[in-house]
Symmetry: C2
Subunit: 389 residues, 2 copies
């Protein structure tokens, strides 16, 4: 009655029939959970009461469709809802909106799985390097990689380069900026990247190793892509990006630009999605979304450190970093957040060799000699390493 | 012992002594809450054990400082923590990181207040139009403004323009795209904005009113600023942006570009921060942060509709949209999310005249004549309007 001039046939012809799927965990009694599933189908698409919709293609194809509904446990249900590829418009921003836009403001809903269609995956850059690409860069074919961070904030660029030099000397494979280092007056971006990259290259020339320095390029959006290009010119071996700060879409765009260096994603600012029961599961947030957006390694707060994730949460992130996802390569999970040498054996047993073991301030606690401490880290990794991948 | 070459005097000279403050609600027993406060001071800055820090300026000025610690209620404490302006580096991305980066992954912490220093406010664009600027555009000096959305998704650009025409004819002040309309093949951005803006301008010419059409420009970051410029060329009267999708920093950058049109912010995808006890309070998320980032109006899910916010949450958002925040103007709160005509009186009583009343699909439920329904909406607003601001 309101949309007499709506042409359902025309719309139908514009839709391919391909759909992507999202799995939601819904809490409550069965009837309540079923209502939530039905509500999601309209809230994430037409935002309109079905009774007022014109008949035809909008009701049949634009409104989300419950493909599956099953009990997970006493108080939770799993609903698989499919959406027409075309409503994501080939845009990562709109894809995220369909997955969890308005319903991020509703109770008792958690995104626990994303099954993008082949077309959606083709539209996204996805990870370009992944595990194999990063291993080739540092020329370490099998063991877990040694990963650390330049800190504390407040040091000068010169101080940080000195640290980088010691880390490289001690055998760290990947040295990143602490994620809080951006362009502070006491360690400006340009000077920091120049000095740290140079320090690492000098050590590499001597040791014949292939340590890379990965600066944090998270920055105001008008500088972000510029900083990536500049970092590469200055000798960076990768980029660290915090999508929660610069935007998920900035990460996606950076990956799409194919600057020829791997991207390591940092989890800051997005924790609220993961540690609350309403939100996005750790598996999807730190695994699936990071891969789709183009990260080659995903830093996550490992259990047993300073953060509250459970062993099960962490195991799921690692699974998500490797499971089949279209044609995308497996990426490196990077357990972090208060890890120490004593955690290594457990990490390797649980996660296997394909990971970056991030030990930051933990590296300072063994002796006064940072180079020695790095060597102990390497020994511990080599001792714990599994015989095969 | 690790940082012999660190020069504390040099760092001290680089710091202005100006600090910004963040208020955190911390849950638990007093001792636990105090520990959390202490932990935040390092986690958000140096990410390093204090015992290993060099003495001097890093300990004294870079590490966050607990300015105040008080009991809020039986299980909650309020800690005011200050940070040196310089660690935010003049960057909105890094400012957000200091406020809630890593601790977004920790339990029992909620950001409930932000007190930026004058310098931080000067570095940010902040709202440019605010309430007064938008009122001048639509030439409505006092009453609440009528706000609606073009939907449902699936309609063609031509269909949507027809709707826009009827809304304008009926007296709506601001007509926005539904936030899910981006650049779908069935209603492409360019054609949609062209047709809808033209339709509204034609009606305005006839009615001598000043209705504005506000398209959704949320889009991939490489297209976002382009779409803003193009939307203005095509006759848009403002921009709708979802910072959760395109990035908080894209909103900030858009405001800074001063394109001469107001920005309306949409809350999609960031709900998880607000509806969980761990996160960012509604007041800060939908109020303070939106103003600092440059929104001129903030859409929020009002209580009594389809979303779970409490009356108190909503009242706080409205307060935050108007309270003193440096020299920034008050912005329009936009109660939304399943509002109907029957909610208007209550909204006006609670929030006053300075708001955009967003009624979307509710406008379809009164009669088959959309123009008549808009007129009823206008009458209801005029009847409910308070005699003064």
């Amino acid at each position: 009655m309101f949309f007499e001039d709506f042409d359902s046939v025309q719309l139908k012809n514009q839709l391919s029939g391909n759909r992507f799927r999202v799995i939601y965990r819904l809490s409550g009694e069965e009837a309540e959970a079923r209502n939530k599933a039905t509500d999601i189908c309209t809230e994430q698409t037409v935002e309109f009461p079905v009774r007022f919709l014109p008949s035809g293609a909008i009701r049949e194809q634009i409104v989300g469709c419950i493909e599956r509904f099953e009990q997970q446990n006493e108080t939770n249900w799993l609903a698989t809802i499919s959406y027409a590829d075309e409503i994501a418009a080939g845009e990562w921003t709109q894809f995220l909106n369909v997955v969890f836009g308005n319903i991020s403001i509703k109770q008792g809903i958690q995104v626990v799985g994303i099954q993008p269609s082949q077309r959606i995956i083709e539209q996204l850059p996805g990870s370009r390097f992944g595990v194999d690409g990063i291993r080739k860069l540092v020329k370490i074919p099998m063991r877990p990689l040694l990963f650390t961070a330049l800190k504390p904030m407040g040091l000068s660029a010169r101080n940080l380069a000195k640290l980088a030099e010691q880390f490289a000397e001690g055998g760290i494979d990947i040295i990143k900026d602490d994620h809080g280092l951006s362009d502070q007056c006491f360690a400006p971006f340009e000077e920091r990247v120049l000095r740290c990259a140079a320090a690492v290259h000098e050590v590499n020339a001597r040791t014949k190793r292939n340590t890379i320095y990965v600066p944090n390029i998270t920055s105001p959006i008008e500088l972000f892509f510029e900083r990536a290009v500049r970092a590469k010119e200055l000798g960076a071996g990768g980029f660290m990006v915090t999508p929660g700060l610069v935007g998920w879409d900035a990460l996606r765009r950076l990956a799409q630009m194919q600057l020829g260096l791997p991207i390591i994603a940092h989890p800051a600012f997005i924790g609220s999605y993961a540690i609350n029961s309403q939100g996005i599961s750790c598996r999807v947030l730190f695994g699936t979304l990071m891969r789709l957006a183009g990260a080659d390694a995903t830093i996550f707060p490992n259990y047993g450190g300073r953060f509250p994730l459970s062993q099960e949460d962490c195991r799921e992130i690692v699974i998500a970093s490797r499971e089949k996802l279209g044609t995308l390569p497996a990426i490196f999970p990077c357990p972090a957040g208060g890890m120490e040498l004593k955690n290594i054996r457990d990490m390797v047993q649980n996660y296997g060799n394909d990971m970056l073991v991030l030990i930051g301030s933990g590296l300072f606690s063994y002796s006064d000699n940072l180079i020695d401490n790095c060597r102990t880290f390497l020994e511990e990794i080599e001792h714990s390493c599994l015989p095969t991948n």
